[in-house]
């Protein structure tokens, strides 16, 4: 019986990350489309660029941000490494590397999904068809998760898939929350207004969290409640703390079950992150600055990813999109 190649494990990790990333870009584009229906529409689309720190790169190619430009940039623009089509291309390349390991169904679905996306024309992603496009991407990603859950052989590779997926999801939730920060910034007087509430509502819906939120907070909707829910709620699968806990549990199980010695550095970082998040209060976070806090979380997640890369992949995992 052969051990898993380090290179395979790395490819599994990034396969999961890039699928999760494609799904989340679709979610963010989708929620922005909803936001942009208000009077500040033009401004809204530039916030997505700031979110992914793509402002300069975008302007070099497209000039001033427009809805059409930003949508194309993040969906079908193959020259943009943070577009959906690029994320799925990298995911497919990893899947191709992994063909000896993954199930035939996993590969075929990935191949068809990518081919379908590549064949799309620019007007298939523009308003008013954008929501349908985003639904298509999300559905493709969910199909991938379902097939993976049902067919992927459960060895160490499976654990690395979970690690990649949850690290990426945690990162993406911090970015989704950050959209709201960018949107609120220009008009603090809107806080608590009907418009503001509808935007928090849309943000929750973009991460499929509205109904879960309502179970926890049956009435009312404050920025603190929503941000607290997306950051710290233990039972919501897309909350940052839930993802971090899952990463931690997965790493424990992986080390325990397969007697792996690597990963100690990542565990240490995860411990710190967890205890920090357990003690954090959303009021304090908002007071000192949500954006800065989210930035800090993103930095910590990157360090965990790098530590895993050093211990298991043979070198530091470099993310081409970072």
């Amino acid at each position: 019986m052969s051990n898993l190649l380090a290179r395979y494990v790395e490819a599994i990790f990034w396969l999961a990350r890039y699928i999760e990333r494609a799904e989340n870009i679709a979610r963010i584009i989708d929620v922005n489309e909803t936001f942009s229906r208000d009077s500040r529409g033009g401004q809204n689309w530039s916030s997505v660029l700031q979110l992914y720190a793509d402002d300069t790169r975008y302007r070099e190619i497209y000039g001033a941000p427009t809805a059409e430009g930003v949508i194309h940039f993040y969906t079908l623009d193959a020259s943009n490494p943070s577009s959906i089509v690029s994320a799925l291309k990298i995911a497919r390349e990893n899947a191709r590397t992994l063909r000896p390991l993954i199930s035939t169904e996993m590969w075929t679905q990935m191949n068809m999904f990518h081919n379908r996306l590549r064949a799309m024309s620019a007007d298939e992603v523009q308003k008013p068809r954008l929501p349908r496009f985003c639904a298509f991407v999300k559905e493709g990603c969910h199909t991938h998760y379902g097939i993976t859950e049902g067919t992927f052989y459960r060895d160490e590779g499976w654990y690395f898939y979970q690690l990649g997926r949850n690290l990426e999801r945690a990162d993406q939730t911090t970015r989704a929350l950050d959209t709201k920060y960018h949107l609120l910034l220009p008009s603090v007087q809107d806080v608590g207004s009907p418009l503001d509430v509808s935007q928090w509502n849309a943000l929750l819906r973009s991460v499929s969290g509205y109904h879960a939120f309502r179970r926890v907070h049956p009435s009312g909707m404050t920025p603190a409640d929503v941000a607290g829910f997306l950051l710290f709620h233990q039972s919501f699968p897309r909350s940052v703390v839930c993802c971090v806990e899952t990463v931690d549990e997965t790493l424990h199980a992986l080390r325990g079950q397969y007697a792996l010695t690597g990963g100690a550095d990542a565990m240490e970082r995860l411990d710190e992150l967890r205890s920090e998040m357990r003690n954090a209060q959303i009021r304090e976070v908002l007071k000192t600055g949500l954006h800065e806090y989210l930035d800090g979380l993103q930095g910590e997640l990157i360090k965990v990813s790098q530590a895993l890369g050093r211990d298991f992949f043979g070198y530091a995992a470099a993310d081409p999109a970072e």
Binding site: L4, L5, E93, N115, E156
Partner: protein
């Protein structure tokens, strides 16, 4: 096919004058898809010569004949879409993009009758046995060279001769674990060997995948037809690799070494690794320490015993061969010499599938096995020999003249198609350096009914059976049937409009 019949057909080809027996018109009872099918003067794989249609072939013929063309086309499209979605593709690179293309698949199977297969199976095993004996001899005592059966210069002076292999013993005496023999069939119905592939022959993945595809899309055509299965290729190969691993490795760790995802045969590498259940590695996954080979795993280095390498000799080890190779593993040859790792195929097998050595293969078989070849070479005139040169010069307008040192069809003169000047030029080159040339008659390749835009028409086919050798040699029933999809074309290569068919060896 009997030996006598082969003798006969060989002379028919030599004379190039005997008129072919006219194959029978399709022996079908009702009008249908095959009503207007006419193989012309060529041998047809499905109809055979007059009276050779077996009961099983008859059933297949009737079923195809009764199919509705529109639904046949719809199913053919579904089959190709499935290949595309499944990613059974080869990659074509252009300046700005890479395009994944499928090997076109023809849904009408190529059928091989049991007596034909018995000859092919024996003939391929015979040939592989002789090739392995030849390689052992050449890299040890060189008896066949001393006896003057094969010219020493041809072997030792060959670009693919590896002095690094001299005196080295390989387990079981097996140099060529995986061999592909390219066969064609003439208008007389006899098979001929066109070429041996004893380095890293490819195409076996298509054989197995084509069958799976046929089973899914044409179960009604296959129902109750006794077709021999092909799905155990991976298991047979894994066994053979185990048998030829270095001594002392109880449960040898086998890997498949690929140049990587950008190689056009990457799909096949995946296929083989999956079928054998072994890791697919690249050079960067392997490392040599203390003359032992290890792969880099999540638990650190793990010992590797046997490598099925899909990388050419020159790229295997930059310390010994091409120093610029990024695909290989530095130090691999040291481990190989010490017997710490096995390679399949062995290094240096390129001398056995060389064009010039090919011409000597019937004598090589006779020398080691004391038998006549069960499958003849295409008649080949060796111009380094006096009679061969004379015959070639006398019949230049009827022969195909090939330089032995060139690859990719470069420098070939096709006599029947050549101009006066071209023939004169060829004559000059022949006289200046006869040892560099062989000549062969033009062969009228057999045809098989094929679904093309115009309907069902005859298209030329070849056949590459795959032989796997550990302690013994096993031949996968059938092989890869490639088909030239253009009318009249004899070029079956995928890069030039070739496709493939499922190959049915009947019980």
């Amino acid at each position: 096919m009997t030996a006598g019949k082969q003798q006969q057909s060989q002379s028919a080809v030599r004379a190039s004058k005997a008129p072919p027996e006219t194959p029978a018109a399709a022996p079908i009872s009702r009008p249908g898809l095959l009503s207007s099918y006419d193989p012309g003067g060529s041998y047809c794989e499905l109809l055979g010569l007059s009276g050779e249609v077996t009961e099983a072939t008859q059933t297949i013929l009737e079923r195809i004949n009764q199919m509705d063309e529109a639904s046949l086309r719809a199913r053919a499209r579904d089959a190709e879409l499935e290949l595309y979605n499944y990613g059974i593709t080869f990659t074509v690179y252009t300046e700005k993009d890479s395009i994944d293309r499928i090997l076109p698949f023809d849904v009408i199977p190529r059928v091989i009758a049991p007596p034909d297969w018995r000859t092919l199976d024996y003939g391929v095993r015979q040939r592989v046995t002789a090739i392995n004996a030849f390689l052992w001899d050449v890299y040890h005592d060189g008896k066949i060279l001393k006896d003057g059966v094969v010219p020493r210069g041809l072997v030792v002076g060959n670009a693919n001769y590896r002095p690094e292999m001299e005196g080295m013993d390989v387990p079981q005496g097996t140099y060529v674990q995986i061999n592909g023999t390219d066969l064609i069939r003439g208008h007389d119905g006899a098979f001929y060997v066109l070429e041996d592939n004893a380095r890293t022959p490819s195409g076996v993945s298509y054989v197995v995948e084509n069958r799976h595809l046929m089973l899914r899309t044409f179960p009604d055509l296959m129902e109750s037809v006794p077709v021999r299965p092909v799905s155990d290729y991976g298991q047979k190969l894994r066994e053979a690799l185990g048998e030829t691993a270095p001594d002392g490795a109880d449960d040898p760790v086998v890997v498949l070494l690929s140049p990587g995802t950008y190689n056009s045969a990457y799909f096949e590498h995946i296929f083989l690794a999956r079928e054998m259940g072994v890791p697919l590695v690249e050079g960067r996954d392997l490392v040599v320490e203390d003359d032992r080979v290890y792969m880099k795993t999540i638990r650190g280095p793990q010992r590797v015993d046997m490598i099925y390498r899909r990388i050419n000799d020159d790229f295997l080890d930059p310390e010994v061969f091409n120093p610029n190779s990024m695909l290989g593993v530095p130090g691999l040859m040291r481990a190989y010499w010490k017997g710490n790792v096995g390679l399949a195929n062995a290094v240096g097998t390129g001398i056995a599938d060389d064009k010039a050595v090919y011409a000597y293969m019937p004598r090589i078989i006779q020398y080691y096995l004391g038998e006549d070849p069960a499958i003849q070479n295409v008649e080949t005139h060796i111009c380094r020999e006096k009679e061969g040169l004379q015959y070639t010069l006398d019949n230049l307008d009827k022969l195909v003249v090939k330089p032995v040192g060139e690859a990719g069809g470069y420098g070939i003169t096709v006599g029947p198609h050549a101009s006066r000047e071209e023939l004169d030029h060829c004559r000059e080159k022949l006289l200046a350096d006869p040892a560099n040339y062989i000549s062969q008659p033009m062969i009228d390749l057999s045809v098989s009914p094929t679904l093309v835009d115009e309907g069902i028409e005859p298209r030329r086919v070849d056949l590459r059976p795959f032989a796997v050798t550990g302690k013994d040699t096993w031949v996968l029933p059938g092989g890869l049937s490639r088909v030239a999809l253009r009318r009249g074309s004899i070029i079956v290569n995928s890069s030039q409009g070739g496709g493939s068919k499922d190959t049915w060896v009947l019980e």
